[in-house]
Amino acid sequence: MILGPRFDVDFVRPAPVPPLAIAVLVVALVAAAAAAAWCEQAWRSGRDLASRRATLEAALERGREQAERRRTTARGADPQAQEQAVAVLDELHRPWRALFEQLEADRVGPVHLDQLAIDSRFESLQMQAEARSLGDVLRYVQALPGAGPIAAVQLSSHELRDAPGGRVVSARVVARLDGRASR
């Protein structure tokens, strides 16, 4: 019963608290503790959500960086290699078949090809051909352009040459090619 010194009476200290007030105080403390626990749980939940969001944002950022790196790598490829690749692709698409069909068509007459040279960009053609007469050569030059890669033909030079069985005309022909014609 004695909690302190005997005859310890101080009128400034508050009077004994009624049990009802103590009960109210206890209820208030319990409510405060419950509220604090709820707040802590909510805070933890919020913190978990924030953590998940941060993780997702980090993953998204990593994905963006990887995509950017891939784009950068593609843009940064060797130009020479790219040019070679383009050249290979163009080589595969060149209309060789159409060119030879155009050179050997029936309508071009009795002219024999001795040499044929085409530049690497498939833009010009030089050939050495022989025929019995200059007229055959001229008809050939005029009939050659048409449906095919040969766009224009020019007789560059010609000469007469003795051959077994008679004299033949040897001509040098230059043609301009249009590679896109048969693609």
Binding site: P5, D8, F11, A15, P16, P19
Partner: protein, 250 residues
Amino acid sequence: MRRPDGWPGRAAAAWLLQVDDRRLELRAADGRVVERDDVDGSAAIGPAAGRMLAAHPDGEVQVRVDAGVARLFLVPWADALTSGARWHTYACSRFEQAYGESADEWTVRVVDELPPRARLAVALPTAWLKAVTLGGARRVVSVRVGLLDRVARLLASEPRFSGCAIEVGASVATLLVFVQGELRRVRARRFDAAEELAATVRSEWASFGIAASAVGAAVALPAAARAALGDTLAAALGATRVVELEPLSP
């Protein structure tokens, strides 16, 4: 401001205001009386205390009340009273029985005590208490009955003290009769001479069937009357031991 031992974190009061039913004394921390004021009736104590403390605005104030201002009475132990609030209600009821007036205008405190000992109840007029504390402008940190503080110190050194603790006030003497450390009786007596007071003390001792030579007396006296009244009272009590209670200090 000095701090007393055993009170860490709480500053000691700078002032001690000692109050009886006719006089106020304001003492500094070193014990010297800084101001004294005689009042006419208890109603004038509050305003006088307010004026006195307003003149010394710094520091906390402890108020020590003479037992003659308060009303002290015993409340018999009752096992059925299991809470402080019930004890307070019981003490107010005993107050009305003892003094024939309502306790509504009194502030009553009940002292803790070991069962089955009777518990001491102390009452101060509520209006007086408010006047003193509000007059101190919230600087009053305690209002205590000086006699009880002195008795508490005595019992701390002599737990089984048998005798009578007497506070001789301006007009009233308050007697607390102890038997083997237990407070058995509380009396307030007006007196005209020391012999009259000594006779009252001997009568109280006799009522308990205790020989006068077996008990002691603890006496607290007003400073002005200390020399003359103390010697007279000691002589009137015969062969008993007279212990002077410690003076109050802030």
